[in-house]
């Protein structure tokens, strides 16, 4: 186990959380800021899953398993929201 690697990941997460809030105050157009902020969240989530939950070194099936759950949740969210537009 490599403590140094984990520390680097932690610092990156910490900084990008700060950046995320700064984006909000940067005065960008709403949907531009929206996209940036969501992308930053997704990026952090991937880092935590890949390194802290060490999915990078696990059989890929575990990643697919979570991916299926995520796909189901997104299908529900988007289809339901679209249905009332």
């Amino acid at each position: 186990m490599n403590t140094k690697l984990y520390t680097v990941i932690y610092v990156v997460l910490f900084v990008s959380a700060t950046v995320q809030v700064l984006v909000e105050f940067a005065g960008l157009a709403y949907w531009t800021a929206f996209a940036l902020i969501i992308v930053l969240s997704a990026m952090k989530a991937v880092l935590v899953a890949a390194y802290f939950q060490h999915l990078r070194w696990e059989p890929r099936s575990l990643t697919y398993l979570i991916g299926i759950g995520l796909a189901a949740a997104l299908a529900l969210t988007f289809a339901a929201s679209y249905s009332i537009l």
């Binding site: 186990m1 809030v21 802290f52 099936s61 759950g69 949740a73 009332i84």
Partner: protein, 855 residues
């Protein structure tokens, strides 16, 4: 035990291995035991385990076969309860009624309709099927038990206590009366004010907890505990149907859990998700409910399909035609079942484009079913049928399902649904499908009865039961198609339809009373029927028929293997000796599990206590309304019950954690796609996948409500994102300390491990403290759960997350205390699994923070 299957097209497929009974005389290779197993092959079972006749056994057992029997017996009790409610409905419908001429009071009728639906779908149908799954699946996959035997017992007790809780709801002013679909806004206290209605919702929530535990357990077991050589392709069809059922359960019930937690919160805490004044509250419920509800149709039907396939194969003496395609069709249906839910919503305000799309997808899902139906029919044509009781029931089920399926196609067409929706056409259709499934499961009960009891039922009475059942069924449900213009859930209808309703009522009594024949037959036969051998069915081919009836506690006399294409048993103690027959399969892991294997545990009292504790907890919570208990003695009683329940639940979970218990050891069998992972890790990830859908449901509900409200008109509740940012820092740091804890544990550094866990705990407490300050501030600004739907989504979603943090902190304390005493240095897996959970909670926050604080 490896003779290649002669004749009958079996080839290398264990699902069509010819009857093991004819191989008993074959000489055995060194280190291998006979198929079928002989009683003498078994080692002495653990002697301290109470016998079947002892009451104590049924409270402490964790053995999958015992749990299976408990499920079956309990579910049959709920069948009787739901059936009596149905009789009440049919008596009411003997004639069209006005509110003054009813047998049941109008509101009592509504309760009976709702309770009948809920009890039959949730507390009878699935648990009945899972009784068989519990009993048969481990035998069919060659496992000694499920991966987590105590969790299996826990699933049962949560199921039983949830059912009792539902029963209690009748006595708290009245149970839920808004129909089994619990449509909003009828499901909120404004319209269903009884305390019992809240209890019914909580009972269903507890039931879903049972299902979730069970899903994780079955999936872990079925994927990682299959015998050597038993790849998914070769899995028997009943086990295949259960595997797909459980996958659907994992995701569908998580969505239902989200819906039920939100509903409980609306009822108990006063949030306003489903309230009349919320934007699209009723639509939100419909989406969440049917996203669960349509897969649920296949969740209850698939096990029946699996039984049909097994029984058809056994009693036609043929392998199913197109086995591979049959499996592919089931997989397709399981996937498609998640993209058809809006065909239940054609009369809501969803737009035309999406209606059209959701008219097409149900047509798509009917195609694989056509394939399965034709495969079953063709199997009959090619085989030689023996008309035993199980076959009659599954054959009847096939006919009923065809009628049920075809009448459903009408409902999937938008224009026809405009006419049929809310009529008895729907009622008749889904009873043909669902009770058609029950018909197959009853066949399954007769089919496996000799295996479970070691005795044969009375064939004449069995056939008589089928005859009366089948006549009663069609007399009950077919007239409902004719009388389709009757409005659903209402006891008034046009007088011209009366004759059809009277026929149906007669049919209801015929169908219900036919079960008396079954109860008599099975009770008498269990006590004094003719004893049977391993395989009374001659052409039954799956592994449960290769062991004694009933199978001994540990199922197999050795390690089951399909290495040579058919079932054999390796002697476990010789497996590492490198005997000729087993040399290439012997692995190092086989050596050390032998010593543990002798002490596999079968008993724990704690699952029962956890079940009782949750029952008290939920019963106490049912008294809540708008986040407070009623005044006076009643309120104190509710509060006291909830507190007691909470203490009992938490305490028994801790004792369960501390109890020495050895589940089945990791065997070196088939584990695709989770090869090389231990049970605990697979189980944790499967659980997290369901938790993804739970939070997905919550976030989806927020997004949906916000879209209905107008996305950019919606302001975040906290005016200042900085407290949220501080909490993000705290959680990220606590994730980092959990990683450090694991590193310390792996380096056998006890102080480092304890310090990291304590740091994690403190950071988590900091997170909660910071949140408490923020909530307190908002509260004093006049914003609380019930202020408006914007506030409701904020408090409930972040509250659910906080609840996850609290659970994590309790576990952290437990781990820290045990680490202090030197635990986890040899085996750090508990710390690792906890970390997986904790990081997941962290990830969820990474999305909640921007969604609720910034955007």
């Amino acid at each position: 035990m490896t003779d290649s299957a002669p004749g009958s097209g079996g080839r290398d497929d264990p699902a069509h291995r010819p009857d093991g009974g004819q191989q008993a005389d074959a000489s055995t290779a060194a280190g291998e035991l006979t198929v079928p197993a002989r009683k003498s092959d078994y080692e002495e079972a653990a002697s301290e385990f109470p016998s079947m006749g002892s009451i104590r056994r049924w409270f402490v057992t964790t053995n999958h076969k015992d749990v299976g029997i408990l499920y079956i017996v309990t579910s049959l009790f709920f069948l009787v309860l739901g059936g009596v409610l149905a009789w009440l409905l049919r008596i009411q419908l003997w004639a069209p009624r006005t509110p003054t001429t009813t047998v049941l009071e109008p509101l009592a009728y509504n309760q009976a309709v709702s309770a009948h639906g809920l009890i039959m779908v949730f507390w009878f149908l699935s648990p009945f099927a899972f009784g068989f799954a519990n009993y048969v699946v481990p035998l069919q996959i060659g496992a000694k038990d499920l991966a987590f035997p105590r969790l299996n017992a826990l699933s049962y007790w949560l199921y039983l206590f949830s059912g009792i809780l539902f029963g209690v709801s009748f006595f708290q002013g009245g149970t839920f009366a808004g129909g089994w679909t619990m449509y909003a806004p009828l499901n909120v206290p404004t319209f269903t004010p009884d305390v019992g209605a809240s209890t019914a919702v909580l009972a269903l929530t507890l039931f879903v907890a049972s299902v979730t535990v069970s899903s994780v357990n079955f999936l872990t077991s079925m994927h990682t505990m299959r015998a050597e050589g038993l790849t998914l392709r070769k899995l028997p069809l009943f086990t295949w149907s259960i595997l797909l059922t459980v996958w659907m359960m994992l995701f569908a019930f998580a969505a239902l859990l989200a819906a039920l937690i939100i509903l409980s919160s609306d009822r108990l805490l006063g949030t306003t998700y489903f309230a009349l004044e919320s934007p699209a509250g009723s639509m939100l419920w419909a989406h969440l409910f049917w996203f669960f509800g349509h897969p649920e149709v296949y969740i209850v039907f698939f096990p029946a399909l699996g039984v049909m396939a097994e029984v058809f194969q056994t009693f036609t003496g043929r392998r199913i035609v197109g086995r591979k395609w049959f499996i592919a069709a089931m997989v397709l249906v399981a996937l498609q079942s998640f993209v058809v839910w809006m065909h239940h919503m054609f009369l809501t305000t969803i737009n035309l484009q999406i209606k059209t799309l959701f008219m097409i997808t149900p047509i798509g899902i009917s195609l694989p079913f056509d394939l399965m139906v034709f495969a079953l029919i063709y199997t009959m044509l090619k085989g030689k049928i023996r008309f035993t009781t199980p076959f009659l029931f599954v054959f009847g089920a096939l006919l009923l399902f065809i009628i049920g399926g075809i009448t459903g196609v009408f409902l999937g067409a938008i224009v026809l649904d405009y006419e049929f929706r809310g009529t008895y056409w729907v009622v008749a259709h889904f009873h043909y499908v669902m009770v058609g499934g029950v018909t197959a499961l009853v066949g399954g009960l007769y089919y496996w009865f000799p295996k479970m009891t070691g005795r044969m039922y009375d064939e004449f009475l069995g056939k008589l039961h089928f005859g009366v059942y089948f006549v009663g069924f069609n007399l009950l449900y077919f007239p409902l198609f004719v009388a389709w213009e009757t409005p659903r859930r209402v006891f008034d209808y046009s007088a011209g339809l009366q004759v059809w309703h009277q026929l149906a009522t007669v049919g209801a009594f015929v169908l219900g009373l036919s079960f008396l024949i079954m109860f008599y037959n099975l009770t008498k036969s269990a006590l004094s029927g003719d004893p049977v051998g391993d395989n009374p069915w001659e052409y039954a081919t799956t592994a449960e028929w290769a062991v004694p009836s009933p199978p001994p506690l540990e199922n197999f006399p050795g390690l089951p293997t399909y290495r040579d294409g058919s079932l054999g048993f390796r002697e476990e103690s010789t497996a590492t000796d490198g005997g000729v027959a087993t040399a290439e399969a012997a692995t190092p892991s086989a050596a050390h599990h032998d010593e543990r294997e002798e002490h596999v545990s079968h008993a724990s009292f704690w699952p029962f206590v956890v079940g009782a504790g949750t029952f008290l907890l939920f019963l106490g919570l049912s008294g809540l309304r708008d986040a407070s208990f009623p005044e006076g003695i009643l309120g104190s009683a509710y509060l006291g019950t909830a507190a007691l329940g909470g203490v009992v639940t938490l305490g028994s979970l801790v004792f369960m954690g501390l109890e020495p218990f050895h589940g089945p050891a990791l065997a070196d069998g088939e584990a695709w796609p989770f090869d090389g992972l231990e049970y605990g890790k697979v189980g944790m990830w499967i659980f997290l996948a369901s938790d993804v859908v739970l939070f997905g449901g919550f976030i989806g509900a927020y997004v949906f409500t916000r879209v209905a409200f107008g996305w950019t008109l919606w302001e975040p509740i906290p005016e200042n994102p900085v407290p949220g940012l501080v909490n993000t820092y705290l959680l990220l740091t606590s994730s980092f300390t959990v990683v450090l804890a694991l590193v310390a544990a792996e380096k056998r550094n006890r102080p480092g491990l304890v310090a990291s866990l304590v740091a994690t705990f403190l950071l988590g407490v900091g997170f909660l403290g910071n949140k408490a300050i923020e909530w307190n501030h908002l509260f004093h600004e006049g914003l609380w759960l019930s202020s408006n739907v914007r506030a409701s989504t904020f408090f409930l979603t972040t509250g659910l997350h906080a609840a996850h943090v609290i659970v994590g902190l309790v576990v952290t304390l437990y781990l820290a205390a045990r680490a202090w005493r030197g635990a986890y240095l040899e085996d750090s897996s508990s710390v690792e699994y906890f970390g997986l959970y904790w990081h997941f909670v962290d990830i969820v926050w990474l999305f909640l923070f921007p969604l609720f604080y910034i955007l």
